[in-house]
Amino acid sequence: MTDVRIPEADPFDAAADEQDGRLAGPPAAAPGGLGLAGWLRWAWRQLTSMRVALVLLFLLAVGSVPGSILPQQGTDAAGVQQYYAAHPALAPWLSRLGLFNVFGAPWFAAIYLLLFASLVGCVVPRTFRLVGSARALPPRAPRHLTRLPHSAEYSVALGPQDAVRVAGQVLAGHGFRLRGPADGGGSPDAAEPWVSAEKGYLREVGNLLFHLALLGVLVSVALGGLFGYKADRLLVQGSTFADTASDLDEFYPGRLVSAADLGPFTITLDSFEASYITSGSQRGQPSSFDAQVSYTAHPGGPVRSDQLEVNRPLSVDGAKVYLIGHGYAPEFRVTDGRGQVVYNGPTPFISGSSGNFLSEGVVKVPDAQPEQLGFTGIFVPTAVDVDGTLQSAFPAADNPVVSLIAYAGNLGENSGPAQSVYQLDTAGMHQLTANPQVLQVGQSLKLPNGQGTLTFTGYVPWVSLAITHDPGQIPALICGIAALGGLLLSFMMRRRRVFVRARAESGGGSTVRVGGLARTDASGGFEAEFASLADELRSVHRAAAAGGQADPEPDPQSEAEHRQHEGK
């Protein structure tokens, strides 16, 4: 990528444009100061300069660092809470600076918006310039080719006109765009004909494509943020859910999305299986998990089945459904003081950090009489007793056990704010059992004072699903691939110019001078190409002279030479 902002510093263009005579300098300050327009123009020039772009890139990198070190509100709200608890004085200040939501913070947006403004301000004029030069001819050949960074000189027994013509054909064969003395004005120089050749325009195309594609990625991300949504749902085996706002656990719509935009599909979890490695150093690690689901894309539509796996989402109604995690839901049957069954079904328990799916959960029975009942406890899939504490030795349910503490009183559910189904507020309750009661499948816990009975009847698995819709996804991918293509193009191509002049010598031959220069990208490599090109030109010229006629076809042997050298 080259700096094009200051044309007078670029020898490539200066050497070529001396004839055109256009070297734009910075605007002179008006008498009496710059004025508002002048300042704005100055600010714009600064913004679109390489230096500021560099600074903004550094700021972007540095600004992303806190977003990876500190817990972020969007992905780890619990972590943010913990941070507040651990650093009560520091946390509010960090929050004010937006450090708990770095990537949505206004200052981060300012950085990348300025960067993109700088990008647009640089890329758009260059696009115009590229389009303008798309059909422009290479510049006229300079008079003194030996002053160019690469030059060669040799004699050949051909007339100058023929030599230049043959040279032109060779260069055209390599894909160079030509300009002879007959093109583009100027008097044809009969004494010393020349041909100019230029190649590598695609580099700038690739460069611009890359930067514009980055802009496209930004727009695609914005599209997703406006018109996309994310939702979560925990689904117990055997149950069904519909894609409606009321039936989803969490719903994060994009700015222009409402609940009415959700596709009307329903999904039933028919079965879920997880298998784990049973031996070796990786014992306990999951080796596979998959969920059998049946779904309808709209009410009354045909019922289809699918196997949902990690890395294999289900596409339905424009949304994608992902299998994110799983767990256990133990089943309980609670009979209250009147002898009525007031609770009977699976209760999702959530696995914590204890490992091997030791899960915690809560059972709330708000309609038990005479008092509301609540139970908190753990579900242990493969229970082992380690020094009096229950731990899980393996993630599969080989020896399932629950351990519960019972409460009675006021759950706080009859009024007030909504409660989490995974937490029990025991403020208005009294504990019924002194110690946690351990139950195996089929066993019951009898509550004191005839309050009722809880029976642990079994367990079923649950899965957690993520439902996402992102209309910006495919555009972002296309722009990403375009950016990669532009990058490769701009790195592989080099803009270079080759000039050939032939001066007649006494005796019917001519001295051929070849000169070349490459755009200053400081990557080198043109040296070898020029050397091989000069060698080929000389071989072709010598062959044409030896053939006795101005035979334009290059000698196959010198072609072979050339190819062999070029292969290095």
């Binding site: 992303s64 990876s68 030059s151 490695i277 990690v310 990557s523 010598r542 030896a546 072979a560």
Partner: protein, 361 residues
């Protein structure tokens, strides 16, 4: 599918063999410094232009070429040159052509020949080790930290072997291969993990694509980082010489490529690696969308991959900005590599996120 433990052992054996071969090649490169022919390396092996008379005389078979640096206009295959002869009296002035690499190696002396042979053998052994590991575990062999480091050093070594041959840069061999030895040695001793299965979240063909690209790119950036360190060391020496604080003509520096050549070589290395890294990020986004439902979520590893990308982009911009070329640009490049290392060693292991698959407890 059960792990093929036998192949796993084969892989370990070849890894040790590679380490030994690399170490010997480093010794041989160092031997070239101490005892080899004194010359400055030409990265593209463009030689001094020879006299036209000599070229015309060489003629058909290139026989009788001078034992010093012969200009070669005839192919080694021996086809006769088709010169029809220049008009008498006017010498041609042609830029000379590149010498074929094997001949260049031969001309560089015995130490370089030995070192290149050992390095090539080491690379072969290393490749066999990586491939057999993959066969042993029935998946691409970069699923945990140990596999990742062994694979990236393999790519770095392959890439640098290519660079040495293409640009005749064997003077840099002692440094880059030395770094490979250190990295591989640390991997073997500190983070070795026996062949094993992956958690289901990683069993996807996108694993091969995304992590392969990241591994290859890291290998390339590894080479660029070593070259950048060499650049900074030479630059510092030059500045000290200019300030009169050091004696000119340091033996090691005079054998290294010139500072402009070092700069160009580093630039071209990063130009090679940057698109691979970009592709790796895109492939990672595709994989993330398949596994977690969103193609970019500012996960810590994703964020640091982005930071690395931005810093290398800054390096590319710096080389086009007045005042930022040279030393400062290389600081940027090394900062980029540091962020890459931070990503692998710290973020993936210690910072919780969806990405914690390092397999290091």
């Amino acid at each position: 599918m059960p792990i093929n433990l036998a192949l796993g052992h084969v892989s370990n054996d070849f890894m040790i063999a590679a380490l030994l071969l690399y170490s010997l090649s480093v010794l041989a490169f160092a031997g070239d410094f101490a005892f080899g022919r004194p010359r400055r390396t030409q990265p593209t092996a463009v030689l001094r232009p020879a006299k036209a008379a000599a070229m015309a005389a060489v003629g058909a078979a290139g026989a009788g070429a001078a034992s010093a640096i012969p200009a070669s206009a005839s192919p080694a295959a021996g086809a006769p040159a088709v010169n029809s002869g220049p008009p008498a009296g006017t010498p041609d002035s042609m830029p000379a052509l590149a010498v074929p690499p094997l001949r260049a190696i031969r001309q560089a002396g015995r130490w370089v020949q030995a070192a290149m042979a050992l390095a090539a053998a080491g690379v072969s052994a290393h490749t066999v080790a990586v491939v057999t590991r993959g066969l042993a575990v029935h998946r691409a062999p970069w699923g945990n930290m140990y596999e990742f480091v062994t694979a990236l050093t393999c790519f770095a070594a392959i890439f640098f072997l290519f660079v040495m041959i293409r640009y005749r840069a064997w003077a840099l061999g002692v440094f880059v291969m030395g770094a490979v030895v250190v990295a591989l040695g640390l991997a073997e001793t500190l983070i070795y993990t026996a062949a094993g299965d992956l958690v289901p979240a990683l069993q996807s063909y996108w694993l091969s694509i995304h992590v392969t690209a990241m591994t290859v790119a890291t290998g390339i950036f590894f080479v660029a980082a070593v070259l950048g360190c060499i650049y900074l060391a030479v630059d510092r020496y030059d500045r000290r010489v200019a300030a009169g604080k050091a004696a000119p003509g340091n033996g090691i520096v005079s054998r290294l490529p010139s500072i402009e050549q070092l700069d160009r070589l580093t630039y071209r290395t990063i130009v090679f690696g940057f698109p691979v890294w970009t592709f790796g990020v895109i492939a990672g986004a595709i994989w993330a969308d398949q596994a977690w439902g969103r193609y970019w979520g500012w996960d810590p590893v994703e964020t640091w991959a982005f930071i690395t990308w931005v810093l290398y982009a800054a390096f590319l911009h710096a080389r086009a900005t007045a005042g930022w070329r040279g030393r400062r640009a290389h600081y940027v490049q090394l900062l980029g590599f540091a962020s890459l290392m931070f990503n692998i060693l710290v973020v993936q292991v210690f910072i919780a996120g969806l990405h914690s698959y390092a397999g290091v407890s």
